[in-house]
């Protein structure tokens, strides 16, 4: 994969992540209105946090030999 493809893939990942987070935020809003399930809301929050930690915060860089 050349540098331009890597760049496009990185921006695409950001956009997809934003869309998934937006959908999950809407889902938790409606879950609270229609069911009010604490467990479900907690699970959605955990999924959202995991997505941010993995895709935006790049936690995997911690155990990879990856420089700038």
């Amino acid at each position: 994969m050349d540098i331009h493809e890597r760049k496009s893939a990185a921006y695409r990942l950001g956009l997809i992540t934003l869309l998934v987070l937006a959908v999950l935020t809407a889902v938790e809003y409606f879950v609270s209105i229609y069911t009010g399930s604490l467990i479900l809301l907690l699970i959605i929050a955990l999924i959202k946090a995991a997505i941010i930690v993995n895709n935006f915060m790049h936690i995997t860089r911690l155990w990879r030999e990856e420089s700038h």
């Binding site: 760049k7 009010g36 420089s67 700038h68």
Partner: protein, 214 residues
């Protein structure tokens, strides 16, 4: 847009501490993650207090305001990610615009919490039937106490994050970062996303979970 640099990290280059750059970067990353981990104890304690003191109840807060503030912070995280990717790929215009938008949205979030939700100026009004200003005060028992403690501590971190973003934006304008060396941008991005992760748990805990108490 500046040219995209194709060279990679100068893994052999030494830092001011005499360590190879790649090794210093790993140490920096570990240090920052440990800092975030230590912050989890603070925010975790606040979250635990909410469940102990509020139980399965919540105060009457504007649902629309909570949802909009959450969306603003998510969008801000997205632009911070774009800024970091811009710096990593030598795309200066994306870096600068992303950082500026992230800071602007972070400031908007801060204003929404302090001016609208806290209602520090004691204002009243609504927009399309949505009440704009909150009515909870710190003196309103456990509801006021927990709400102001959680949003206050988070808002303080938002303010710090906005200041850091503006610093990297200013440095970026002066050409301080390259695709090979932009730890300042990466660190700020990680911190900013951490602030977002905290809100991911605070938002449902404050606005969505539990039965409404009038």
């Amino acid at each position: 847009m500046s040219a995209v640099t194709t060279t990679h990290a100068p893994a052999h280059a030494e830092t001011q501490h005499g360590l190879p750059y790649a090794q210093q970067l790993r140490a920096n990353r570990l240090g920052l993650w440990l800092f975030c981990f230590s912050e989890l104890f603070l925010f975790g304690a606040l979250l635990a207090s909410r469940f102990v003191l509020w139980g399965n109840t919540r105060p009457d807060l504007s649902q629309v305001m909570g949802l909009v503030a959450t969306s603003v912070l998510l969008l801000s995280s997205f632009f911070m990610y774009r800024a970091e990717m811009g710096a990593a790929h030598g795309d200066r215009s994306k870096f600068l615009s992303g950082a500026l938008l992230a800071a602007a949205l972070g400031t908007l979030f801060f204003i929404m919490v302090v001016v609208l939700e806290w209602n520090v100026f004691g204002l009243e009004g609504n927009l399309f039937g949505v009440e704009l200003f909150g009515h909870l005060t710190p003196a309103d028992g456990v509801y006021g106490g927990i709400f102001f403690a959680m949003t206050g501590m988070h808002a303080l971190h938002v303010l710090t994050g906005v200041a850091l973003i503006l610093i990297i934006w200013w440095n970026g304008r002066r050409g301080r970062y390259t695709p090979e060396s932009h730890w300042g941008v990466e660190a700020t991005a990680i911190y900013w996303h951490f602030v977002d992760v905290v809100w991911v748990f605070f938002y449902p805990a404050l606005y969505l979970m539990g039965h409404l108490v009038q």
